[in-house]
Symmetry: C2
Subunit: 154 residues, 2 copies
Amino acid sequence: MNISARTEYAIRALLSLTSAQMAGSTTVSAESMANAQGLPKKFLEAILLDLKRGGLITSRRGSSGGYQLNGQAGQITLGSVVRAVDGPLAEVRGARPQDAAYDGDASHLPVVWVALRASIRTVLDEVTLLDVVTGELPAHVLGLADQPDAWRNR
Amino acid sequence: MNISARTEYAIRALLSLTSAQMAGSTTVSAESMANAQGLPKKFLEAILLDLKRGGLITSRRGSSGGYQLNGQAGQITLGSVVRAVDGPLAEVRGARPQDAAYDGDASHLPVVWVALRASIRTVLDEVTLLDVVTGELPAHVLGLADQPDAWRNR
DNA sequence: TGATTCCCTATTAATTAAATGGGATATACC
DNA sequence: GGTATATCCCATTTAATTAATAGGGAATCA
């Protein structure tokens, strides 16, 4: 149940591209993203390639090349980023939640796994890159983060 | 964002113990749990040790020994099981969600991570072992699993 | 006493995660 | 055309984690 470095780096790089899009600039190089966010450059390059293959960004080579978002920052969700770099959300022992089959005492377990994935989706598939940069997060998400113990460990 | 085999095995073993508790029996051996749920026995033993150290079960050695739940099945949540065998929910690159620190474009990201963890908690910390065995899951959880596309991949 | 069953440490094998290196390919600008 | 820039791509490395197994010690009961 962890967010990988890959995913975290991907999101932070895309937030740089979002910022650039808002400022009206064209492309941003891997190097400047790595510097701005403190990410290992070659590792970031590999991640950006995944993002490109996933259709989230476009790129241009050459002297004034770099990357930019493929589409509007307000249309790109964190969920799509996670899926592009780390695969499906909430897999259970390598399988999709609804495909985990059990019998006997555990027969109702898939319902729980599906609900768990659905609850994760209510956050990751509702928050866009633009939301994160502006801090104007969906009411539902702010509500979750405003719960009494949300910021405390259990 | 995955559920490990460790966690899945732990839950399935505990569901066997829940069933035994409901039937009024005393202890269940690791071997019979492994057989009933099709789990590797020695691996299961290691997991049961974690569960014991986490205070979720008790054990007795010897010829009619075995394991039993420490407390009522209706009081033990899936969240406590996950924490006992796999550590904290929803860590971000090895740190707690609220401890991930960023500046610049990513400064609002911790709010998202905390909200994500909160949403996971609304499922895992609300569902008990008894709920799963009986299939009588909390309304909130059933609601999530009843959403139109909850059972479909994205 | 002997069978049973948990307890515990160590080890292994496979996979994944995180990163690095080197170089080929495309682009812009002088 | 030449050169600097920057993506693209493959191969390799290192470390950590995951999943599982092995072997035997310690407690318990009949």
